[in-house]
């Protein structure tokens, strides 16, 4: 429990901002603002010209350098993973409020948000909900009419709904959150990136600032969430005394579950220099946890000697955040980051800006503003939301219908993690495209990683190689080696090094520091087949070596790939297999319904229809989802159309336009569009001469009993047809041109037109389809009378 009684004197010597890093080139003003905030209001600091601010910055820089020098002399800067200030514990990776003024009075802050109707916090057991607009709290029982449970999605309080937002309390009072969101005069929010003890005993932290919407260049906009903050690129070092208490900042998905008043949502990073927004991804969080020191053995190894050094701290120590030439400690989890650091810079595509963008998010590539359309979320129409969840890019919450396969893969990975040096650590996964092979493997790995984070399983490293993203099969070595060691070398060097690494029994990491198992996923494995099949052989041979600590999962389409490989590979690969069968109708239905949970836009018959159709053709879940998505699109378009035409009627009668439900007919339209072959349409659309020529080709090939016919003969037949039906005669040149056009549409397969008389042609469409078209031709009536 937080106590209000804190020593003011102690606070005064704990001046925030001991020093400032020049975090970005060309952005002195925002950095300065944070500094100046100790004595001035942010507004006036903002107005301070950069020239005025510059000397201060330089001075600060000098101080910092001096300090760094001192630190290196004494070798005493000691990195910590957590620190306790006044009973509050702050860890690396936490987000925390930071005090911005010296005359900071904690008592100003209301600790509890009261119900706006009854004015009390009691009864505690009754849930209070918060309005998404004005952020005021309400007991659900105090509302009129009272709610029985906390509603899903967004909720607006009665006064916001009626458009008369209630005024907040008088300025000066309010919760920490209110002060923070008011623009950071008293409180601001930072992300703690590193903690350390200075040689003189004071404890410091590197904090990355959060920004509130109204301080960005776009200002607060309507579609910004009420509790939205942006993570900036600005990083400062300050004394830990300025930290006040821990707050919660999360991505939108996690935010829905977040409770308490100190929860904020941060979906975007904000670059104050470039004035750009950039969406955060979940990867960022993984990076965060990498710094946190709770990560596996590599980190604890370092902790053992009392000097935990997160990567940022490592850079901080060198006095720069730029990792030029820095070789960070090679760490398994950091694999995704490390290779980018070691690559040959000069030749890197995209230039230096791009590299910086990748690491720091300093870039012009971000969005100038957050597009309102990306924030429709709950407000979007059900059809639009259905389209969003059905999109192949959407990450489903669960993956149903692949339980046995998942269990097989899980047990395989768990075996290889725990069994030590037992043999048979190769798994072959096969199945036609769109049956969820890669997705299942990935999901399994994710859940196992969570397990290993919870220390139920040993830590492991996961490497993903997709053969179709490799320039040549041999580059598989390069990728594997780079992922394991962080060094980028050529394929042959990588192969040699890997060979040495795995045969020496110190696999999975350089110098034997790491005892982790490496799980290697080889996707689209069939494309790694070379003439001598060396690549595949090596990849499946290495796991067999004693102490190699490598497990390989191969994924490909064909079930019998091992049999088609050399026997020595087949014997290594063939022992454990998982086959993904095409999805059945029921499974496709389940998948679609799981994704559409909570959205009542599809008639269940419509889903069944689509599932049946796809299951009959391929059992490919991608096609099923795309089909349903298209059906939803068609429905939306039709509903809009109907609404537009009904608008006059509706406005007079005051009715709401009908909400669209996806019906069988819509699915049918989508099926027609996506499954129907185009050749019928194309043939129907041919010009008169082309149709006559098709008829002549058909007749000629019937008469000859050959599929291949020659233009010379076809032309004679065509002339005969024309004469017999009082059509103008067709010069050979026109016939050849028509044949060439048909050839380019591939309705017939034809030699190039230059061969003229001796051009060979054959039909490239089913004969029945063609005769059907010709029989039903409207413009050329005599075609009906011909017998095909």
């Amino acid at each position: 429990m937080r106590t209000g009684a804190r020593n003011a004197g102690k606070r005064s010597d704990s001046k925030p901002l001991t020093d400032v890093f020049p975090a970005t080139k060309g952005t002195p003003a925002p950095t300065e603002r944070k500094r100046a905030a100790t004595s001035k209001s942010p507004a006036s600091a903002d107005a301070m010209p950069a020239s005025e601010a510059a000397p201060v910055s330089k001075k600060a820089h000098k101080t910092q350098r001096k300090r760094a020098k001192k630190a290196s002399e004494k070798h005493l800067r000691q990195f910590l993973s957590s620190v306790t200030v006044d009973g509050d514990t702050f860890s690396v990776g936490d987000n925390a409020y930071i005090r911005m003024t010296d005359d900071f009075d904690e008592d100003e802050f209301t600790e509890e948000e009261v119900c706006q109707i009854c004015g009390h916090t009691e009864p505690e057991e009754v849930p209070r909900i918060e309005c998404d607009k004005c952020l005021l709290g309400y007991h659900i029982t105090c509302l009129r009419p009272p709610l029985t449970h906390v509603p899903e999605g967004s909720w607006l309080c009665p006064s916001c709904v009626s458009g008369k937002p209630r005024r907040g309390r008088k300025a000066g009072a309010g919760t920490a959150r209110e002060h923070m969101l008011a623009g950071g005069e008293k409180l601001a929010l930072v992300h703690i990136q590193a903690l350390w003890r200075e040689p003189d005993g004071s404890q410091c932290f590197a904090g990355r600032w959060y920004e509130v919407p109204q301080n960005t260049h776009t200002g607060r906009q309507k579609h910004h969430a009420a509790r939205e903050v942006f993570l900036t690129q600005l990083v400062d070092n300050n004394d830990v005394e300025s930290l006040w208490r821990v707050a919660q900042v999360c991505l939108p998905d996690a935010f829905k579950q977040a409770t308490g008043d100190d929860a904020f949502v941060c979906e975007y990073e904000y670059d104050t220099g470039f004035e750009r927004f950039r969406r955060r991804t979940s990867d960022v969080n993984e990076d965060d946890s990498d710094w946190a020191g709770s990560d596996g053995e590599a980190a604890s190894d370092e902790e053992a000697d009392g000097t935990y050094k997160p990567q940022h701290a490592f850079w901080a120590e060198k006095g720069t955040w730029k990792a030029k030439g820095t070789k960070g400690p090679a760490r398994g989890r950091g694999a995704a980051v490390t290779p980018a650091l070691n690559r040959h810079r000069a030749r890197q595509q995209g230039g230096n800006d791009w590299i910086e963008a990748q690491r720091d998010g300093l870039s012009g590539l971000g969005a100038a503003e957050i597009p309102a359309s990306s924030r429709q979320g709950e407000g979007a129409s059900p059809l639009a939301r259905a389209q969003a969840v059905l999109a192949l890019t959407a990450n489903p919450r669960t993956m149903p219908c692949r339980d046995s396969e998942r269990a097989a893969i899980t047990s395989f990975v768990e075996d290889s993690l725990t069994a030590g040096s037992s043999s048979g650590r190769c798994l072959y996964v096969s199945g036609v495209p769109g049956t969820g092979k890669t997705a299942t493997v990935m999901e399994t790995i994710r859940s196992l990683r969570r397990k290993s984070e919870a220390r139920q399983l040993p830590a492991f490293q996961f490497v993903d190689i997709n053969s179709l993203r490799l320039p040549s099969p041999q580059h598989a070595y390069t990728q594997l080696y780079e992922a394991m060691t962080g060094n980028h070398v050529g394929p042959s060097t990588a192969a040699a090094s890997l060979e040495e690494m795995f045969s020496s029994g110190s696999g999975g990491g350089r110098g034997g520091t790491s005892k982790r198992v490496t799980v290697l996923l080889v996707d689209e494995m069939d494309l790694l087949v070379t003439k001598k099949q060396t690549v595949l052989y090596n990849l499946f041979e290495w796991p067999m070596r004693k102490g190699s600590r490598l497990a390989v999962i191969g994924v490909a389409n064909t079930m019998d790939l091992p049999e088609r490989l050399l026997p020595r590979i087949a014997s290594r690969l063939g022992s454990r297999r998982v086959v993904f069968q095409p999805y059945t109708r029921q499974q496709l239905e389940t998948i679609a319904k799981t994704r559409l949970e909570g959205l009542d836009v599809f008639e269940s018959r419509a889903i069944e229809y689509a599932a049946r159709k796809v299951a009959a053709v391929s059992g490919d879940v991608r096609r099923c989802l795309e089909l349903l998505r298209r059906a939803a699109e068609i429905t939306e378009a039709k509903t809009k159309q109907a609404a537009a035409s009904d608008a006059a009627v509706a406005s007079s009668s005051g009715q709401l336009p009908p909400t669209g439900m996806v019906k069988m007919s819509h699915v049918d339209d989508a099926i027609n569009e996506m499954f129907q072959a185009t050749h019928m349409q194309m043939m129907r659309n041919c010009c008169r001469l082309e149709k006559m020529l098709l008829a002549a080709v058909l007749m000629e090939s019937r008469a000859r009993g050959h599929t291949d016919v020659v233009m010379e003969n076809v032309h004679v037949r065509l002339e005969g047809l024309c004469q017999g039906h009082s059509e103008p005669s067709v010069p050979i040149g026109a016939a050849v041109a028509a044949a060439a056009r048909l050839g380019s549409k591939r309705l017939i397969l034809a030699d190039p037109g230059a061969k003229r008389l001796y051009m060979r042609m054959s039909l490239n469409v089913p004969v029945d389809d063609l005769s059907h078209i010709l029989k039903h031709e409207e413009t050329i009536e005599w075609l009906k009378d011909l017998s095909f």
Binding site: L365, A391, L468, A677, P731
Partner: protein
Amino acid sequence: MPPKKTAPISQGIVTSHRTRSAPAEQPVVASPPKKPKQYASSTDDSDIEVDICDESQAAASSLLQEEQQQPDDDFDEQTSGPAPCPAGPAELTESLHSFAAVTAYLRSRLLDTFSTAAASMEMRSKLQEAYSNLLNLLSNTAETPGANHSFLLLGARGTGKSLVMQRVLTELEAKYNVHEGKPTVGIVRLTGLAHTEDVVAFREIARQLCKAFNCKYSKASSLAENLTFLREMLRELGRGHKVVVFVLDEFDLFAKKAKQTTLYNLLDAMQTADMQAAVVGLSCRHDVMELLEKRVRSRFSHRKQLIPEMEEKDLDSAADSPRGVLAAMLTVPDSTGDSMPHGPVQQWNAAIAQILSADVVMQQLKLMMTQGHGRPRDLADVAMEVMLAMECQPGVPQQQAVLEGIASVTQLQHQQATMVGSCSVLELFILVSTYRIKRRGHDSANFEMVHDEYCKLLEQGGSGDRRSKAAALRAFERLIALSLVSYVDNRAEEKGGLREFHAARVNLVLQEIEAGLKMQKSCPSLLKNALSNEAVRNTFAHG
């Protein structure tokens, strides 16, 4: 007709050049239209002359009369037209200049289909439909994270796929790239004709991405780096809500390869969360989907749209017929506003509307269409011909110019006869000899056989004008070069050996040779006999 075919073009070029270099030196008085070139010189006989030619000739000759009496009326019309167009040499020059401006405007619109001026050309309704579909789809991608699409635009050559695509892209850029230098939508165009190689394709993608989003492009990057770059860049752009539209022209050529790395990587990016992109393929093959590898096909959304050609049944409709398209190409839109002289524009548009509603023109257009020349691209050729004719003689467009334009397109099918007509007498002898051998039932003949036949023919005809064998061989080779006669084996010449003994065959039908002989003025009658008369040979054989 062949000599006529080329005539307007060359004339046009010369004149336009002159106009450009010294417009002021233009004759002040509008010269009366030159006597129209005769349409079909040899219409009297000929099976090859199809109805088109007869008709066009009729049209032309009727026109010819009309025009011969017309020049002065024409002049009057210009001066006393609805628009105030005062008489007098100086004003007349001015009006001619303004017509030249109209012509130049329309011509530039036709030539540079990507220009903003070209965007004012109205599309037919089928294209409009495809346009709005595609625009909706791509706007959806641009606005909604995760709504990635892949789409296939199908249609025969020359129906307007690229036009639709271009219009959509222009609109997208106008709609979303509102901040100068800070684009939201980037466009990467690849064509199957140039970028099927992986190395080239990914380098090109990287180059265009860098260019679109102001990054530094490194030419030296390897394929591996470019492959990684594509994914990382797309992810980075996705985080900033930026969209990339990949346009793959000649989509089928990408699909023709065994290892479809390019398609796989692009389409796989469509399935990846936090990337915002769309792939649009353009192809004229109806079976392009079957060419895709299984895993690539699974990743493709199977959305497609066929852009239909214009149909015969729509012939009378205002917009969807060749007439409508041609009118759109030749009419100055209202949107030009004050940039164009108002009076002449109205005169011009009225004249075009009148010409295109004339029955003669309608008939010609219908014929064009039934023969498969009714595609927008062919119509653009017609329009271009009209422009060239107008450059020769600035003023109100004439019906004849349109008819001539149509003829120039439809007559391409008679070019073989033209070539025969341009051959020398010796070459014609050799050609006819080859044909006679064929008629006798031999599939092919080598030069020796042909030469024998040639000798016999001369002997039998009693002509002493026999050339040496070497000359005959050269004539034979020229026929091969013109591909009027072709070797049976395509690669005969590469294979070497004596050319005299390679099997060859005539690549023409009887009608074409006949028409050609008629065109050749100095063709001896013996040759015509030999071609049509089998009996000549018989008398010779018996005698």
